[in-house]
Symmetry: C2
Subunit: 339 residues, 2 copies
DNA sequence: TGATATTGGTATAACGTTTAACCATCCGTC
DNA sequence: GACGGATGGTTAAACGTTATACCAATATCA
């Protein structure tokens, strides 16, 4: 009770060698039924649990995998995490989440701790401005790694992401069909990764449709920011009637801001979000958004990781999931106004 | 490059024994400056990182600590996590988060994995209906544990929580001062822990003020639930004009629901939330709520854990943080109506 | 000058598993 | 009654660190 029981204690209690005890507990080797039962009983009686550090050191197997995200608070991430752990847990893995807060130092610390403990695998949303060393470090230590959402590292790792460009392109076309001509992209600040791809998609549609140039408005992808920035955007570009947002949070914030300004989302200005988080459906007004099923995205991510772990020699893969337009009430026909 | 470098490789490259290399890298022992530099250089050159499994096995020290929460998506938790990791990271600890989703099986798996890896410590929000065995298991294996928010386990562990009863008592008194006489408690379903304490606080105030009996209305602590349940509550108890909520989420949902019903929060019905999450301030209307500074709560939690790790023999402590009433616009004078 | 610190370092035994290699039995068979 | 093959188990060497104990030098001191 006092002293933490080890395998040797179990073995002794069952009157066998530690090797036998180990084999019983792992279900390997040729052991008679009677001793098998003895050992199991002894283990239970002593409340034995195997020390995974020792086990993984000797066997080279580690069934803990980590998920390094930019911010744990993000509800989108939360749903991805559900998908990831649901799938991995059925395979006997344990998922632990690390929060890098999009800070490279913090991220570096996290990842080094990862390497130190030789975890089984890593799911990773690389922080902004992650330097090449960091990718190299992971690669050199042979940790099975899958990058998520943000693709970088020169194809060193498997990747799971979203078809961002195609998504915003269709969102923009949808706005155009509703008659909107002056369109803005609202939210985010990063000059690489997801956001760039999304902006690209908007620009592509706009170019092909011959609409006026896309207005890009930077701000954090949060409700508060959306709330305050929408009025500034309105002031600077009064002609804008259609907005594609970098995420649902900023979109919801923008809608709230418009209401405070006496405008009606979906009538005066149409807003399209991105992610389809749970709040999107119950926001006022319910948000039109690009849905990517974060839960399914998480499952896919987990599956790719498992494949990589099982066959480390396999060439790296890229999996992009499509996003689907969900129309709700934050979009509507463009107001008839002198253009 | 190919083979993962170990301490022995570093030692060989520097022309010293592994013992010396270890001492240099850990900054212990008496080593001359020249060899010290050699070893450090060799380590850097080989891209060496220590295997923490081996290290922690031998030394008995493990600077990874885990935080097991009920749901990672909860924004309240996210802020707590920030506080926890900010403090622990300065002490060289790594924080990883486990999501039990309030499911005892999942929780059990998580905790067993914890024991297996002999982590440095555990911060733990026990899932509903956690059985005594689980507490005993942790205790028996001597993992430094601090329970958070939900106090249970017969005082086996240190605890950090909120002065729930005092908080809801003052919220109730505040409503009473505004003239509300028929008061309800909305949200949550658990029959133990936090919620029970909060309900107790309301009842205490009501008893002392001689108001009509508290109406307790169960539902999940989520926006959607608040949105739908508020109309049912209104129908069942039309006299209710003051509501104390189990959390901000259900409170915000309830406000949205009222607006949809054509009622005005703060005029027709007053709503008090709990937690003061970031959304509370920017909700429509901005939410009156009990604020507990989740970030500071997280720091406190971390500090208690550190104390416990440093002195395992210390008697267990209980730390309760006060909650402060933040008045915004979801509360107001009771409507003048025939009672 | 001999006794005694001090400095700088090494050899080796842990930590708790897993696993490859080995060794007794016993059983049937020719 | 020697031989091959199951059957059921054990021995001992890893895995990569750290800590204890020890050992050579060299420096210090009375």
């Amino acid at each position: 009770m006092e002293h933490k029981p080890k395998l040797a204690d179990v073995a002794q209690a069952a009157g066998v060698s530690t090797a036998t005890a180990s084999q019983v507990l792992r279900g390997t080797g040729r052991i008679s039924d009677s001793t098998r039962k003895n050992v199991v009983a002894a283990a239970k009686r002593l409340n034995y649990v195997r020390d995974s550090r020792a086990a993984s050191m000797r066997s080279g197997e580690n069934r803990e995998i980590g998920f390094a995200v930019l911010q744990i608070a993000n509800p989108f991430n939360a749903e991805v995490i559900s998908g990831v752990s649901d799938l991995l847990e059925t395979e006997g893995y344990l998922v632990s989440v690390l929060d890098s807060r999009d800070d490279t130092d913090r991220q570096r610390r996290n990842l080094e701790a990862f390497i130190r403990s030789s975890r089984g695998g890593l799911l990773w949303v690389p922080a902004e401005n992650t330097d090449d060393d960091t990718f190299e470090l992971l690669k050199a230590h042979g940790i099975p790694t899958v990058s998520f959402l943000r693709r970088s590292g020169k194809g060193r790792f498997d990747h799971v992401g979203i078809e961002n460009s195609a998504a915003t392109e269709s969102a923009t076309r949808y706005l155009a069909e509703l008659g909107h001509r002056h369109i803005a992209y609202l939210g985010g600040t990063a000059e690489f990764g997801v956001r760039v791809e999304r902006i690209e998609g908007c620009k592509k549609a706009i170019a092909e449709l011959g609409l006026p140039e896309l207005v890009v408005w930077n701000c954090p992808d949060e409700k508060v920011a959306g709330l305050t920035e929408i009025s500034k955007l309105r002031e600077a570009y009064p002609k804008i009637t259609g907005i594609v947002c970098n995420g649902d949070m900023v979109a919801i914030g923008a809608c709230s801001g418009m209401i405070r300004m006496g405008l009606k989302p979906g009538r005066d200005i149409s807003v399209v979000g991105f992610d389809d988080v749970q709040d999107a459906a119950i926001a006022t007004p319910p948000l039109t958004t690009m849905s990517v099923s974060p839960y399914q995205l998480g499952r896919k991510l987990a599956r790719v990781a498992l494949d990589r772990i099982r066959d480390p020699e396999m060439p790296t893969t890229i999996s992009l999931m499509p996003a689907e337009l969900i129309t709700r009430e934050s979009t509507g026909p463009a107001p008839k106004e002198a253009d």
